[in-house]
Symmetry: C2
Subunit: 230 residues, 2 copies
DNA sequence: ACCTGAACACCGTTCAAGT
DNA sequence: ACCTGAACACCGTTCAAGT
């Protein structure tokens, strides 16, 4: 008891343990007491490092968001922007068009969330007070503006892309259709057998994500052609 | 004590009270005990009507999903489908193109979720065992197939549209950027002042949703032109 | 069948006490 | 400053008992 010579905990150690616990057993089992015991410490000890449990969850989410590839946006130059419509013209390996950058980022974003499916419901509070979420928004926005998107439009594009990716994470990883054929028998005439198997479900989600991503990027490219500046 | 002559509870009464409670005070205060007390009943009484609290939440979500306008899909006929590309040609008021139907539905879907923002985090489990969620998926899918979308593609379109709408609900209603200018000062160079005010935030979300919806529908119309059958 | 109160095994958080 | 144990006001759920 009493204060240890060397601190037993740190914010990082707490966040790492929390993420490991959520990945292994789900968001439901993440309690301050369980987490503390996982760290070999007493429940209230956590409150020396975080004010509330919600702050811990927020930090976990932000850590995970930090894994998303946003380096790609640094490779979007004003030069690359001019070639956005035909991406064969990238002479240097570093040059990337805004839409290709969005594609790479969106896939990375989705992959990261897919690596931590149990955490997805915790995304709900939005990018609020999470540094990496803001860093991400900033990188997206900056590259779009450099590419010639008007600022107001660039804001919208960043937000709507996030809608799609987080929505796909929510819809894909946390359930989907139940693996229970009996439930469907004759009930929903248009819902085919393909919906029933979890494996097929994985593929549907993958295909839906890719199809949506391409539709979105095509639609945005059309708009870009009409509104670009610079 | 003991069994009342007339049942005090019903699934509907429980669901209604739960939704009212969530709308008024948030998802966090929805506990079986609090809900029971709201209904003038003892906590365990709920278990005569629902097996778990999660089932109650699921029923609440499904009830809300039932408010989404899917009647529009009934107005999508095979005839309307042939005019999808030019929507001025709807002679009868009942005929609607698949893309216009998706637009109406997406807006309704988002509006319904917007009317119950506190419930949005509970959407995470996906369309699992929720009749109205399945009814919705079925209506979307059916209208797309009638319009000439190949079945595999129609499945994807339904799913990806749901991604976008639920993602927008998640991102819009549950937080967004904090209303705290100090947090941003000099930290994120590209994030302008426009991000800071909650009011502007509402507008950004609205605009992002509309822009994303149009981009998506345009991109899908392009694809439709290439893959349609019938 | 449908409610009650008591009970079990939990929660998040506060706080005085220890070093 | 950073931990502990005790305590407070809660949880979801089970179950015997009542009618």
């Amino acid at each position: 008891m009493g204060r240890p010579r060397q601190p037993l905990l740190s914010r990082d150690r707490i966040v790492d343990a929390a993420l490991a616990l959520v990945d292994a057993e789900g968001l439901d089992v993440l309690s301050t007491r369980r987490l503390a015991s996982e760290l070999g410490v007493s429940g209230p000890a956590l409150y020396n490092h975080f004010a509330t449990k919600d702050e811990i969850v927020d930090a976990v989410v932000d850590t995970v968001l930090g894994e998303v590839d946003i380096a790609v946006f640094a490779r979007v130059s004003a030069d690359a922007a001019r070639d956005a419509a035909d991406d064969r013209s990238q002479d240097a390996a570093e040059a990337t068009s805004w839409d290709e950058a969005l594609r790479v980022w969106a896939r990375s974003y989705r992959a990261v969330l897919g690596a931590h499916p149990n955490l997805v419901p915790a995304l709900a509070p939005g990018p609020a007070r999470r540094p990496n979420a803001l860093r991400m928004a900033d990188a997206v926005f900056g590259s779009l503006v450099r590419s010639g998107w008007p600022r107001a439009q660039a804001t919208r594009v960043g937000v709507l892309m996030r809608y799609f990716v987080t929505g796909s994470a929510l819809g894909s990883f946390a359930g989907g259709f139940p693996d229970d054929a009996a439930l469907y028998a004759g009930e929903y005439p248009h819902l085919g057998q393909a919906h029933l198997l979890a494996d097929a479900q994985r593929e549907i989600n993958e295909n839906a994500f890719e199809a949506g991503l391409e539709a979105l990027l095509h639609g945005l490219a059309d708009r870009y052609a009409r509104v670009r500046v610079g």
